[in-house]
Symmetry: C2
Subunit: 202 residues, 2 copies
């Protein structure tokens, strides 16, 4: 007898990230000077939809390098949202001031997402270059909001990595700003979706 | 005595190309199946601005691999526009049927552009992955019209390559289609441009 096991439920996994026109999210040393310089041309206070996006997020999942880079931010930018840091390091020190907000995870991304779903999380913000690449490879990413900055930097840490096969996405929205930033939102179009055609892009 | 030599005049160099969301212009073997499959979702006859773009072009400059891939096209897609094929091969055979349209060049891109300017060319269409990368590296590209297709293919021939330094671009326009294609047009913003601020993006 064949039993059809339902897929484990998991929250929607959303990426919200800025990239150079040539697809880098940071210089090789993690530097974001090119992004900060470009942002200086934007109106003061323009957040490119970040606060709205964060308002719809129940938890944050990030890689260890990203955690290292945000650890010194003051004020802590994720107040009120639980942060899960994925690492293979046997011990990762979380400063006392952050221990209420941050949990260190050594599960796989799929295991963590199942646990977060069991805790009631409906949408997770996935951050960090290596972790985004790994989750895309495992086809765990559902939504990509990418803000493309009009600069070529030629080298650095890439947003995109190798995949196991093609992935079709559906364009959900496009916005742009006078400073030249273009923000696209794509949602994953998996084979099962083809049975129920999605509405056409706006 | 210091004489200030004017830069040699050259035509505007424009790229018009489709890329996957992860920045590939073809599979490793040159395959475009992912692009043709995505285009099948577009309305019949939609050319994504190609005819309008071609109408503003005085000459086409392409790399040898691109030439090989278009050589069999029937009808010849560039009728009426001179095609210059850049190659380092000592002899490149051009079929008799194409000899009126195609010139083989062994100059550098900068030399060819100066010669085209002397012949009165105002805008050149630059095509071919390696040649685009080489001309971007030499800062010879003035306009980038990129149509981004909502598919990740994970590997292949990249649109972007290494540069000698950052390059700032100005967003000139964004268009999108129901099939999920997003077309951006960027123009190069060189340091000299900063003296005469460009109008803000539309």
């Amino acid at each position: 007898m064949i039993s059809t096991m339902p897929l484990p439920p998991r929250p929607e996994v959303a990426v919200f990230i800025a990239a150079s026109l040539d697809g880098f999210i940071a210089r090789a040393d993690g530097g974001l000077d090119w992004l900060l310089k470009a942002q200086a041309a934007a109106p003061t206070g323009e957040d490119f939809g970040y606060a709205e996006f964060m308002g719809g997020v129940d938890a944050l999942v990030m890689g260890r390098k990203t955690f290292d880079s945000v650890l010194g931010f003051d004020p802590w930018p994720y107040a009120g949202t639980p942060v899960h840091v994925m690492t293979r390091q046997p011990r990762l020190a979380v400063p006392a001031a952050r221990q209420a907000d941050v949990r260190v995870c050594r599960q796989t991304p799929a295991e963590l997402l199942a646990a977060l779903a069991a805790d009631g999380a409906r949408r997770v913000y996935l951050d960090g270059g290596e972790l985004i690449q790994a989750c895309l490879r495992d086809d765990l990413v559902d939504r990509l909001t990418i803000t493309t900055v009009p600069v070529l930097i030629g080298q650095g840490r890439r947003l995109w990595g190798p995949l196991l096969g093609d992935q079709a996405w559906r364009l959900q929205s496009v916005r742009h700003w006078d400073c030249g930033f273009v923000q696209t939102c794509h949602v994953r179009r998996r084979p099962a979706d083809e049975i129920h055609p999605l509405p056409s892009a706006p």
